[in-house]
């Protein structure tokens, strides 16, 4: 590895080299270590290992399972960003101070509003901000804190000092990525990290976890283990990966708004076992989405009544709703005097020079110095990118000035910060280092013993050497941040952790998750049924004795549209048949992503790809269906082998069995009602559709007969396709479920209709007698299929919608 020093830009601070061109001492141990392995191979190996670990995590946690890992905001640079101990002390003190200050500011804005009364602040700043939530006014958070988790965006100015660029107060993102980056780099630089005494970041997450469980500890001294959850907007959020990752690292359930319910003033998690009290919520939902009752009425992501529960002091929400009001550059200029007023301190970290244009003198100054300033919005809902004054000339400049003059209070001007340049590993093809602009995000969490700052963070670098702005939209990368310890650094012990706090149960299965597992089971079998039905029908295409009947059954059972054709089963409408089954299957799988193994998820992705490719080509449909069946069987195999056999898994299996039972009963009804019911070819076809030909052959010889098929598919309790087998296994699962949830056993499905042995022969008979016998059995089987549907509804009411436990919770 060579540190090729690019021509030094004197207007920027260079992180690696000092003004005389020598390497800064805190980089030396790392760079020398890497130089010692100076071979293109070593570099390539590091890069490849990093990339592979990133991809593996993506497969483990991410919903969209992009094989390139391109769905994450930044690529991870195997080269970390190194900070010496002394420098870190200033950052740490500054960030902790700011966390205290901003919490005090929030308490004033949502409480007595003294700063406004004393003229320290214009009313436009809080009240014009969309995240100032009036329903939270006079709310007293249960622990007295508004801000539990805080992040500061920092940049190093040419003079070498770290400056504050922006505050993140709502639901700061990226801490999970910082942890993930560290875990990856711990493998890439397995020796360097301990040798260089790089400070560990994990303690920060323990503090965060303790903070969240603390309220439960205080509130319920007796018995109940406190429950903290992470509230996510769901898999479509761009940082869902991080939510899932944090949930796993913190050992907390990852929940969506609809998993929670407020009864009285208490928040509950809807679980398979009933309602469980939630003591605290780490939210990744925006302020105004938290409660559709009192905030945005159109929010389908929030929890109705959450603000009421907060007001009653029954739940802790981190950060409290409304904390996003501080996310605006407009605050910066006002904070130094506020810091003196609220906490009696001078700010440790200087802020970028900022002017709020609602003040006449500021406006005049900015308009005459536009060339060296950047114009930003006061409010986040203005949605425009920062505008560099120097880029605007002539008419454009007049238009910009006009725009500002119309609503001066909605604009902020800032001095342009020349970001420092940090070394990055450019590519596998070269062992040279390049320079990129860098910003640093540092995280703090409030603990009962004061604010604790993560000794590390998330560094972000620009996409190319000329870039002056670091932006996720324009590519660029992330870096792990190595804070070096001075001598042997003892991490502060985690704050008083009663043993009970460790005992947070994280095996609660949210009802929504269980419901999706249930439907994942059902759709897997439904897709399998459809595929086998179409496949066998296609195989019978040239046999006129069975094909018309088979084609009709395909239509009756929804394998193709009522007016559709089996030959077009792969190119039909999206809402029907195999395309719909796989689509629903994939959706359910995406909702329970956390509980599936990596290969299960790959299987789901592969299934979708198979179907897309098949729809695009005009190849042999039979081959496609054969392959689909194999993939579907693999999914079921993975669920048996890879998944924890807990209640969620049991419900998934129930879904499979109920779906299968309904299908077998329904297809038998169709067969019994058909004019070709007893034809050997039709019976043979049905055996194939029900995947029962080998077993049948082992039992019976001669041409297949309907009565023998029925004997097999109705009563054989060793055959997984037989109704008796399915009924018994459904019963057993319902019993086990009731047992593990300490509840009453749900009623199963009734017995399979009995056919007397003398009546059995009539099933094969022609004429009116035979038709009557078949019609009688068909009625009973139709009723059985209906009972399967009813069982499904009962399960859904009881375990997913929690209707019974609702009544129960309210009665107690």
């Amino acid at each position: 590895m060579r540190a090729v020093l690019e021509p030094t830009d004197l207007r920027r601070y260079d992180e690696l080299t000092d003004a005389s061109g020598g390497m800064r001492s805190h980089w030396r141990p790392l760079i020398e270590r890497l130089r010692a392995n100076d071979s293109p191979d070593a570099v390539r190996r590091s890069l490849e290992l990093t990339r592979r670990l990133v991809v593996e995590n993506g497969v483990t946690y991410n919903v969209y399972a992009d094989p390139q890992g391109a769905d994450r905001p930044w690529a991870l640079d195997p080269l970390p960003f190194v900070l010496p101990a002394a420098e870190w002390q200033t950052i740490e003190a500054g960030v902790a101070q700011r966390a205290r200050l901003l919490n005090a500011l929030l308490a004033d804005l949502y409480g007595p509003q003294r700063l406004l009364a004393e003229g320290h602040l214009p009313a436009e700043l809080p009240f014009g901000h969309p995240n100032y939530l009036w329903p939270c006014h006079d709310l007293r958070p249960v622990d007295g804190r508004w801000l539990h988790v805080y992040a500061a965006d920092l940049a190093r100015a040419p003079d070498g000092r770290w400056w504050l660029l922006a505050d993140r107060t709502q639901a700061p993102s990226g801490a999970g990525y910082a942890l993930e980056n560290r875990e990856i780099l711990e493998q890439v630089h397995a020796e360097a990290i301990p040798d260089m005494s790089v400070r560990r970041v994990r303690g920060f997450f323990n503090s965060l976890r303790e903070r969240l469980l603390w309220h439960g500890h205080e509130a319920d001294a007796g018995g109940e283990a406190p429950l903290a959850v992470i509230l996510t907007p769901g898999p479509y959020n761009e940082t869902y990966f991080e939510h899932a990752y944090l949930a796993r690292q913190l050992g907390m359930p990852l929940v969506e708004g609809s998993d929670l319910t407020v009864r009285g003033d208490t928040v509950y998690l809807k679980t398979l076992g009933g309602l469980r009290r939630v003591h605290s919520i780490l939210r990744r939902l925006d302020d105004d989405y938290c409660d559709p009752l009192e905030l945005r009425g159109d929010s389908a992501l929030g929890v109705p009544g959450l603000i009421g529960a907060l007001r009653a002091g029954r739940v802790m929400v981190s950060n409290a709703p409304g904390t996003g009001v501080l996310e605006s550059a407009a605050w910066l200029g006002f904070l130094p005097p506020i810091a003196e007023r609220l906490i009696g301190e001078k700010l440790v970290l200087p802020e970028v020079a900022t002017w709020w244009l609602g003040e006449k003198p500021a406006l005049d100054y900015v308009l005459s110095n536009l060339d060296r300033l950047v114009i930003k919005p006061t409010y986040p809902n203005q949605r425009f990118e920062p505008m560099f004054g120097r880029d605007y000339e002539g008419k454009e400049r007049d238009a910009l000035i006009e725009r500002i003059r119309n609503r001066p209070y909605a604009y902020v001007a800032q001095e342009h910060v020349r970001l420092s340049q940090a070394p990055v590993w450019r590519s596998a093809a070269s062992s040279e280092l390049a320079s990129r602009a860098l910003t640093l995000r540092v995280y703090a969490v409030a603990t009962p013993d004061g604010v604790r700052v993560m000794p590390g963070g998330l560094a972000r670098v620009a996409h190319d050497g000329a870039a002056e702005v670091v932006s996720a939209q324009r590519g660029g990368g992330a870096k792990d941040v190595w804070v070096l310890a001075e001598g042997v650094h003892e991490e502060p012990p985690s704050t008083g952790t009663p043993g009970r706090l460790q005992a947070q149960r994280h095996d609660y299965i949210p009802s929504r998750l269980v419901e999706n597992l249930y439907w994942l089971g059902r759709y897997t079998v439904r897709a399998e049924n459809t595929a086998r039905l179409v496949l066998r029908t296609l195989a019978a295409r040239s046999d006129a004795r069975v094909f018309p009947h088979a084609r009709q059954v395909c239509r009756d059972l929804g394998a193709v549209a009522p007016d559709g054709d089996v030959f077009d089963a792969l190119h039909g409408r999206e809402a029907i048949g195999i395309t719909a089954d796989v689509k629903h299957l994939a959706w359910c799988a995406s909702q329970v992503r956390n509980r599936l193994s990596a290969r299960y998820w790959r299987g789901v992705v592969g299934l979708q790809r198979q179907l897309q490719e098949a729809a695009a080509s005009r190849g042999s449909s039979r081959e496609v269906f054969e392959r689909l069946l194999l993939s579907l069987a693999a999914l079921t195999g993975f669920s048996e082998e890879d998944m924890m056999h807990d209640e969620g898994w049991r419900v998934m299996r129930l879904g499979r069995r109920i779906e299968r039972m309904q299908f077998i009963a329904s297809i038998l009804v169709r067969q019994l009602g058909s004019a070709s019911a007893t034809r050997p070819e039709a019976v043979e076809w049905l055996l194939d559709v029900c995947d029962s030909t080998p077993i049948y052959r082992a039992r019976y010889i001669g041409a297949p007969r309907l009565s023998q098929l029925l004997n097999l598919l109705l009563y054989d309790d060793g055959h997984p396709m037989a109704l008796a087998f399915l009924r018994r296994s459904i019963d057993r699962d319902l019993g086990d479920l009731a047992l593990s949830l300490n509840g009453e056993r749900e009623r199963g499905v009734p017995d399979v209709p009995l056919v007397a042995s003398d009546a059995a022969e009539q099933l094969d008979a022609g004429g009116a007698l035979g038709r009557a016998a078949r019609a009688g059995l068909a009625d009973e089987l139709a009723a059985l299929a209906q009972r399967c549907g009813e069982l499904s509804n009962r399960l859904s009411h009881r375990y997913f919608a929690l209707i019974e436990s609702d009544a129960h919770a309210l009665a107690t």
Partner: protein, 127 residues
């Protein structure tokens, strides 16, 4: 006209396609008192039976009713009846009021203690 009394009945009803097992509601159905209007009596009748009900005020001083329903239902009916007394209000002559530009300038932030009136008005100046 010096004052007038009105009896008002206002009915809202919702029908749902499936059972609503549990729900929270906020009702803004009671007029706030003002120099020119008083609500002499009001009554809100709700079907189905409410699990919890409380009268509160929002951050702007508007009366509101907070409801929690816990009986499965497919229809919700809210009937609000009230008796209101309205007094005559003196007409406002536009020429005698302060021009808006001046009002705007009065509210401009100057880093000094705002007057009580300015402070009270501040919360109503934004959406």
């Amino acid at each position: 006209m010096t004052k007038r009394r009105y009896r008002i009945r206002h009915e809202t009803s919702y029908q749902y396609a499936a059972d609503v097992v549990h729900s929270h509601h906020l009702l803004h159905l009671v007029p706030r008192p003002a120099s020119y209007q008083q609500c002499l009596e009001h009554d809100i009748d709700i079907t189905p039976e409410t699990h919890r009900r409380s009268n509160e005020f929002d951050a702007f001083g508007n009366p509101l009713v907070r409801l929690e329903l816990a009986t499965p239902h497919r229809e919700l009916t809210v009937v609000s009846t009230m008796e209101i007394e309205v007094h005559a209000r003196p007409a406002v002559l536009a020429e005698t009021t302060t021009p808006w530009e001046k009002v705007r300038d009065q509210f401009a932030f100057r880093g000094a203690w705002p007057s009580r009136d300015q402070l009270d008005a501040a919360r109503f100046r934004h959406e």
